[in-house]
Amino acid sequence: MTDQINRAVHLTALRKSFGAFEVLKGISLEAMEGDVVSILGSSGSGKSTMLRCINMLETPDSGQIEVGGETIQLKQVGGRTRAADRHQLQRMRASIGMVFQNFNLWSHLTILENLIEAPIHVQKRSRADCVEEAEALLEKVGIAEKRNHYPAHLSGGQQQRAAIARALAQHPKVMLFDEPTSALDPELVGEVLRVMRALAEEGRTMLVVTHEMGFARDVSSKIVFLHKGAVEAQGSPRDMFVAGRSDCFRQFLSGGNGLK
């Protein structure tokens, strides 16, 4: 039971097919509070799909998703899986911060409005509190002076930092990052990774799908390597990078994706 309290995310036997193609072949994964889990794998290995299952942007065909000790209720409707209780799903989603590859800031709202949107309209918090907190978050990610700008006015790196701040504004228990630096120009990657590093040092629970080997090795507490829809190897960065657990992982590292 004490074990249960400390567990932030627990996936059990997740399966998911797109048509005849089985993307997830029974994946299980566990992350404790304060863990930074880097999820690695070549494209098509199912890492993004798995991450997106955690907040049900993708619905698994079968399996179990538990976040913060609570299991998402699922039901089968006409051969498809759905959330059984949409209020539960919405409540749980609000406690899971999501950062997308393409930022996905709301283009008709200013940066500050992007940050206070969900806290006000989903979590029903007072506007004054939300604004005050949002300004502190923008300060923290280094774009306080952009508060009244629209997303289109910001560079990719600034937009992604704003998107991270937007996720933080909901006080998430867990942060999910879906290739947060893959859409950025190389010179903008650093500023986003710095913010993520700072979050990791604060002890935030983070699950990060990434191709940034440096980040995975230096920042994460655990590395999960997916291959063809299954967990091929997992362990501490030391075990994975130095001891070299799996042949497949070594091949992945050497295949142009090597240590930077």
């Binding site: 989603r93 999501m98 997308f100 996905n104 989903v122 280094g142």
Partner: protein
């Protein structure tokens, strides 16, 4: 040029402007509500909703508005059931028949404008809203509709202008809006050219104002497309 006559005509035709505007504004307003419902039905993915909505759009876009007005004004009264129904007090009035016909007609066109606008909302922004825990209702109210509105405006401005001109057809079923009054004046004075020119000038002025209004709304809703406020430069602070 008989300036005094033109002036007298103008004064007489202006009396019809409130009715013209009333028909146009009410039909576009009511039509917009219907259009949003039709567009959502078409996009629902439920055949039971999508198919009737598509059929409706097909019928009302593919038949002349004039025929629709005639059918509603003259046609419905042929049925005893209609005459006996509680709607008869409305349906025997030319004003309501014209308003119903204009509304049903603009709803069909606007449905397609709204549908296109809804489809243009980037899926990533919808996904971000879902990931925040927004309910479907909040998602539409706060994200989807505001974004769609920005896409729909240019097309909708067009539709509004078309509707102001379409109200002229209401004169056929005895309504005394601008064109109805013009027709009456022509039959009294036989000075068709002058009267029609004045009538055209009135429509032109109304549409000039509508065009400006739509432009203003478009401007007000497109801050994100203009350069940022006070050029505060800098690459952001440190972490």
């Amino acid at each position: 040029m008989d300036i005094p006559f033109l002036y007298q005509t103008l004064l007489k035709l202006l009396i019809g402007v409130p009715l013209t505007l009333q028909l146009a504004v009410s039909s576009v307003g009511l039509g917009a509500i219907l259009a949003v419902m039709l567009a959502l039905a078409r996009l629902s993915g439920l055949r039971l909703l999508a198919w009737p909505a598509s059929f409706y759009v097909f019928i009302f876009r593919s038949t002349p508005l004039l025929v629709q007005i005639f059918l509603i004004y003259h046609g419905l009264g042929q049925f005893h059931a209609v005459r006996a129904s509680f709607l008869w007090p409305l349906l025997r009035e030319p004003y309501w028949c014209a308003l119903i016909a204009l509304t049903l007609n603009t709803a069909a066109y606007s449905c397609e404008i709204v549908r296109g606008a809804l489809l243009s909302v980037p899926s990533g922004q919808i996904e971000a809203a879902r990931a925040c825990g927004m309910s479907n209702f909040t998602l539409h109210r706060r994200i989807v509709f505001p974004l769609a509105l920005r896409h729909a405006l240019p097309g909708y401005g067009n539709e509004f202008i078309l509707m102001i001109k379409s109200t002229a057809l209401a004169s056929i079923i005895t309504l005394m809006e601008v064109t109805g009054l013009a027709a009456q004046l022509i039959s009294e004075s036989f000075r068709a050219i002058e009267i029609l020119i004045v009538a055209a000038a009135i429509y032109l002025s109304m549409n000039f104002i509508v065009t400006r209004l739509v432009q203003w709304v478009e401007y007000a809703l497109s801050a994100e497309l203009r350069p940022p406020p006070a050029a505060t430069s800098g690459q952001g602070g440190t972490v």
